[in-house]
């Protein structure tokens, strides 16, 4: 196969100068330099990603898998090489196990639809956790309401960790077909013990889906070593563009699952009597895919690989430790969760100051944080809160930015005395 090489000139080799790769980080808001601490909602994009997408649209673009012409063949190569990049990132057995979707939400809906309605045995329940993002709750509720599929929820401890004893009890409490759990909480930063979750689920005869939307940004993921069955993530949090996400699943599962959407690209033969499905992964990629975005995601993955997970993980661990120490000394501030294993996401709340007021004040200091329920209302309720503010870190975050956050929070408290 003729694999297109993407331009590499702007790729940083070390973390130290990575900041310069993100043009937006030079912007000002309200006349002060932007301090972007909202990467868990969506990460900023390095030049390598922007260049790859621009280059595609300016020099080498056509529809994929269709045209018997040069442009289409080259674009198909680039699109498929992005699939290979994802396969490499996850250590998938083969690129055919990678299904391109729009985002994590669509990936989970695909599994809930095709696996939940097509493969999951009736009478077997789905297990989720109390710290799931709404995107890993609602698709299962829809399945429950339509099919009567049981839905059980593993509680979270006061420390913000998965309650493993309760998990084991729930696995034993009746047949479970699928455990669908986050690999890292977008609110608490908690990294869940994936190996253990998976081993226990498999012993109970259940498959496991990990929502890697946050985890993949901070940690290397090896689906074979994890022995997981489904893994999903979303491109825009991994320094890639919006509109592209990934479902990885074992090939035999993808083979058994009926299609999700029907249309072009996903068939091998169509008559009005019946259609035959294309091979995986194309069976799940109906219609013209997000070609430019997939190529952008491929570039984002190459960028992350160039810097390397060891450097990223170490940098973010240091930032998180620094943030926890600094925030602990802000009077009246409560930090949610004290998980042993955590990534670069910290949620916090003042007793008497609403998170939106905190966010508005921080915004005027150029600091972008998220405030609200973070699409995890059940988890908020678990901790007795309506909303929190959340700072999240990326490979380009500096400890100076965290100092600025802590200083500003102390002033927020003064402001509302």
């Amino acid at each position: 196969m003729n694999v297109m090489r993407l331009p590499k000139e702007s790729v940083a080799k070390t973390l130290a100068d990575a900041r310069a790769d993100f043009p937006i980080l030079g912007e000002k808001v309200h006349g002060v330099p932007l301090i972007y601490l909202d990467s868990a909602a969506s990460a900023q994009k390095p030049r390598a990603v922007i260049a790859a997408m621009l280059g595609t649209m300016e020099r080498q673009y056509a529809n994929v898998h269709r045209g018997l012409h040069w442009m289409s063949e080259r674009t198909t190569d680039a699109y498929e090489s992005a699939r290979m990049a994802v396969a490499r990132l996850l250590n998938a057995r083969e690129p055919e196990e990678i299904v391109f979707v729009r985002n994590s939400t669509e990936a989970i809906n695909l599994v809930a639809h095709s696996y939940g309605r097509g493969v999951l045995e009736p009478g077997r329940a789905v297990l989720i956790s109390e710290m799931e993002h709404h995107s890993n709750i609602v698709p299962w509720q829809l399945l429950r309401d339509e099919r009567g599929t049981g839905l059980r929820v593993v509680p979270v401890t006061d420390a913000g960790e998965l309650d493993l004893a309760a998990y084991e009890r729930l696995l034993a409490a009746g047949p479970v077909g699928l455990v669908s759990i986050t690999h890292m909480s977008n609110v608490l930063g908690t990294v869940t013990p994936a190996e253990r979750i998976i081993r226990l689920a498999h012993e109970a005869g259940a498959k496991v889906l990990l929502d890697g939307s946050q985890a993949i940004v901070h940690r290397p993921v090896d689906v074979q070593a994890l022995d997981v069955d489904f893994y999903v993530f979303t491109g825009h949090k991994l320094y890639g563009p919006t509109g592209i996400g990934v479902l990885w699943a074992r090939r035999e599962l993808l083979e058994r699952m009926p299609p999700f959407l029907g249309g072009g690209e996903m068939i091998s033969e169509v008559t009005f009597e019946r259609s035959r499905w294309a091979h995986v992964p194309h069976k799940f990629e109906a219609g013209t895919p997000a070609i430019v975005e997939a190529i952008g995601l491929g570039a984002a993955i190459r960028y992350v690989e160039e810097i390397g997970y060891p450097a990223i993980t170490a940098h973010e661990a240091a930032l998180t430790e620094h943030a926890l120490a600094r925030l602990a000394s802000v009077e009246g501030l409560r930090v949610l969760g004290q998980a042993q294993d955590r990534g670069g996401v910290v949620s916090f709340a003042f007793e008497r100051i609403h998170a939106h007021d905190v966010a508005t004040l921080l915004d005027r200091s150029g600091i972008a944080v998220r405030a609200g329920h973070h699409c995890a209302e059940p988890l908020m309720r678990r901790f007795g809160l309506d909303s929190t503010a959340r700072a999240s870190f990326a490979l380009y975050t500096t400890s100076g930015e965290i100092d600025a956050l802590a200083d500003a929070l102390a002033k927020v408290r003064e402001f509302f005395h």
Binding site: H354, T360, K411
Partner: protein
């Protein structure tokens, strides 16, 4: 450090949000409605007690939300007391314009004058709904509905 934020969080606003005078459920009320802002999770329930002539005798509220939404509910409760439903509707319309544009057509109007401290929200588009939430709930209650329709 937060210099221009003094426009948004004026002393009056801080005062009303921290010590709302009407921030409670009325012991007996004739109408009540809830409003919520799913985008940010702000929630308010407004309680209305009518006078024999149909005017508003008292308004109380329970709110979970930011300083702007609580202060706005409290100021509203003050402003609408003794007014008819028709008057309240008119003030609500003017207040919405004030929150969106920062200006009011007749700033000398007594009610609008009292609501003026909230004019600062117009430069924070994502916060305008915080200021108008309680008003939507109040209008719903006056129309006999239990829940405010979102904008």
């Amino acid at each position: 450090m937060f210099g221009d934020l003094a426009d948004l969080y004026q002393e009056v606003i801080l005062e009303h949000s921290q010590r709302p005078r009407h921030g409670k459920r009325l012991a007996c009320f004739d109408a009540s409605a809830k409003g919520d802002n799913p985008m940010c999770g702000d929630r308010v329930q407004v309680f209305v007690k009518h006078a024999p002539d149909g005017a508003i005798a008292d308004v109380g509220f329970e709110a979970r939300g930011c300083a702007i939404s609580v202060a706005s509910a409290d100021l509203m409760a003050e402003v609408v007391r003794g007014r008819s439903a028709a008057e309240v509707k008119e003030i609500a319309g003017k207040f919405r314009a004030l929150a969106r544009t920062g200006h009011s057509e007749n700033p000398d109007d007594e009610a609008l004058e009292a609501l003026q401290p909230l004019a600062g929200v117009h430069s924070y588009p994502s916060r305008v709904k915080c200021a108008t939430l309680a008003w939507h709930a109040l209008l719903a209650a006056l129309q006999g509905r239990k829940e405010a329709s979102s904008e």
